[in-house]
């Protein structure tokens, strides 16, 4: 797989403040890469460096086989975190204008704009001023403006923020569609479910440093696996099961040492949940529920960035 984007030892300092520290990662062509991190992690600074809007203090960025993003501007689509459109323009004019800046002829740009708006259910709004559109509609128009020129690399900064669930779903479909056509997508988000559903790989950042870079399974492996147990069981009995690192009581009912308890047990790294289940049966524990919970990306995000937030 060829590399669409590669950062090597990228650092950005503003005076004494280090926004990004020795950041390195790669995104393969056609991949959807989630760029995750809490506020102030350095995501926007990194995106600005990738786009060539600001120069890195140290390190190199290779984008679409060049080290100068300005040379490949027309092959990149960008949606900034804070949305910006000319309010008095119509959606068709706005999309055609930004596509025109990316080298598309006015005629083609307008044709594409109309088609995209129709496809996104905005056909009836295409000739109304943007100021008259709903927030969701104008955000969609903004996204279409960023991709109307069919870019090879699409960079979306917090694309899901402010969208309702229906529009979030349609945005996910657009992103999948871009990848299906061969575009590489890098997007930052706080909403882990989107990254989980969309991404081939994720880069997690906190306080300017990369905390993780890899695929979903690799990210999840950083979060502990949990066993959820419910029944007339004691905390000590669960603690004694094999592979259990620690047990937390989620809820407790009853008296005299036995409880209708709801317990959450963290498995030791590499431990097998099946062994714990077998041991529980052999010891005759009175269980109503025994569930092995695989970690989510959200759990991984908390585990990897928890002390950095």
């Amino acid at each position: 797989m060829t590399t669409a984007l590669s950062l090597t030892g990228v650092t950005k300092r503003y005076g004494d403040f280090t926004a990004v520290q020795s950041l390195s990662f790669e995104v393969g062509t056609g991949q959807i890469c989630g760029f995750l991190g809490p506020n102030g992690a350095g995501k926007t600074s990194t995106i600005r460096m990738i786009l060539g809007l600001v120069e890195p203090t140290e390190g190199t960025i290779e984008i679409l086989a060049t080290q100068d993003a300005r040379k490949v501007r027309e092959r990149i689509g960008f949606l900034p975190e804070e949305r910006g459109l000319y309010k008095r323009m119509t959606p068709v004019d706005a999309i055609a204008f930004f596509a025109g800046l990316k080298g598309i002829s006015d005629r083609d740009a307008r044709r594409t704009a109309r088609q995209m708006l129709e496809d996104q259910g905005l056909g009836s709004a295409m000739n109304r001023p943007i100021k008259d559109l709903s927030k969701g509609m104008s955000q969609k128009v903004q996204l279409l403006s960023a991709i109307a020129h069919d870019p090879e690399l699409v960079i979306l900064d917090e694309p899901f923020s402010g969208l309702d669930p229906v529009n979030q779903q349609s945005l996910e479909a657009i992103i999948r569609g871009l990848a299906a056509k061969g575009s590489t997508v890098l997007f930052s988000t706080h909403v882990m479910q989107h990254a989980e559903r969309l991404c081939d790989r994720v880069v997690l950042m906190a306080r300017g440093r990369k905390m993780f870079d890899g695929d979903m399974a690799g990210a999840r492996s950083h979060a502990p696996r949990l066993l959820v147990l419910e029944g007339n069981i004691s905390l000590q009995a669960v603690q004694a099961l094999p592979g259990i690192e620690r047990v937390e009581v989620a809820a407790l009912e009853g008296q005299d040492g036995t409880h209708q308890a709801h317990l959450s047990a963290t498995l030791k790294p590499g431990a097998n949940g099946q062994e714990a289940l077998r041991a529980a049966f052999s010891q005759g524990l009175d269980l109503r529920r025994f569930e092995l919970k695989e970690p989510t990306l959200h759990d991984a995000f908390i585990a990897l960035t928890g002390d950095q937030i």
């Binding site: 503003y14 990149i76 949305r83 910006g84």
Partner: protein
Amino acid sequence: MRRLLKIALREYLSYVRTVGFWLSMAGLPVIMGIAVMAPTLIERSAPTPKMAIIDLSGRHLTPVILKKFEHQQSVRVAKAMAAAATAAAGPKAGEAIMASFNALGLKAAEATFTSLAPKVAGTFKAPTPEVQIVPAPDTVAAASTAEAAGKALKPYLTDETERGLTYGAILTADTKTLSVDFWSRNIGLQALDDSLKDILRDEDRRMRLMQAGVSDALLKEIDAAEPVMRLRSPKSEGDQVSLRDRLPTVIGFVMAMGLWTVILSGAGILLNSVVEDKSSRVLEVLLASASTTEIMGGKILGVAAVTFSVLGIWLSLGTAMLLTSAPGLSEDLIAILATKGLAYYFGFYLIGGYLIYACVFTAIGAFCETTREAQTLVGPMMLILSIPMVFMSQSITHPDMPIIKILCWVPPFTPFMMMVRAAAGPTLLEMVGTGLGMVAFITLTLWLSGKAFRAGALSTSKLDPKALIVGMIGRRPKPV
């Protein structure tokens, strides 16, 4: 270049398609029309002020005053005819009418007017008299003292009906001195007191000289023998200084004022446009699609097209009006603009001045989220810009004043100050030197503003003049 032009076109259309643009386009001609017509309309709509003379001096001064005011009215009519003829047939026609009037009186002036500008003469309306002398009301005329006359006069000065008076002049005299109690309806209405004073001084002098034995014939001869004044200058085209010689300086001043207004209007539009793009986050999207130079250049070019469109339309309208209403004067104006090169200077300084202030205002706009923020930086700029305004008006009478010459060499002021100096015939060194200085300054401004614009466009921190300066010298403010 394609991107720059695209941004410029969008900028241009975004203004041209607004109702406000067309309102402002029509606004100036309408206001100018009102300003030109207002004095005439006011004069025509207002009734002629009435003045009663109560002569208690015993010197029979009323007929003398009446005659003098009639003469003054003749002078006003002659001057109005000369102005109308100048507009229609050029300055020489106006000068000929005044020469006829001075030599042979109003009838001769009217004849000259009819022969030189027959069309305008046919529709000419003489200005209404400054004052109408009316007989004093009986109760006032019957008074034997100034005090009694004043008391009787007062009610007529507050009377709004036909009987009412605007002025009343009570004349008294002792053996040596003539005195006037000049009453007027309003405290502000004192325009006639000086005229009256002059008339009475002349009459008093004439009577005293006659009493001293000077003959009436000799006195008339002395009055008629006014010194002949000939205005000459090495810069005058003819034997004497004429209106044609003075026109270039006046035109230069008017053009400089126009330049100042147009440049500042354009820069103001640009500032608002950048602030709007910054606050709506469009600027960041643009930066990902085009270079700083293309965005700045596109915006500056687009707003220049807006400004120059407005200017072009106003100039076309003005020229059309001038050609139809004042063909004689317009011929001279066009000749001056062409032969003195004022039109070319205007073009050069318009482009230079616009570039300087457009760049600065664009850079300021990139640091501001709201127009209020922008005003904190634009305020001091406007103070600096008022400096040429102060001195420009002086340049009509004193175009070679040292301070004006010095200000020409200050690049931000060069466009305005050299525009007024251009008509006065500056030296080649001054023209070339200040021109090169301005070009060098434009280059520097473009470079610094480009850096500041880039820094400001990506900055989300609060406006800080320090950030603007830091942006200009190369370091960029920390983003949030």
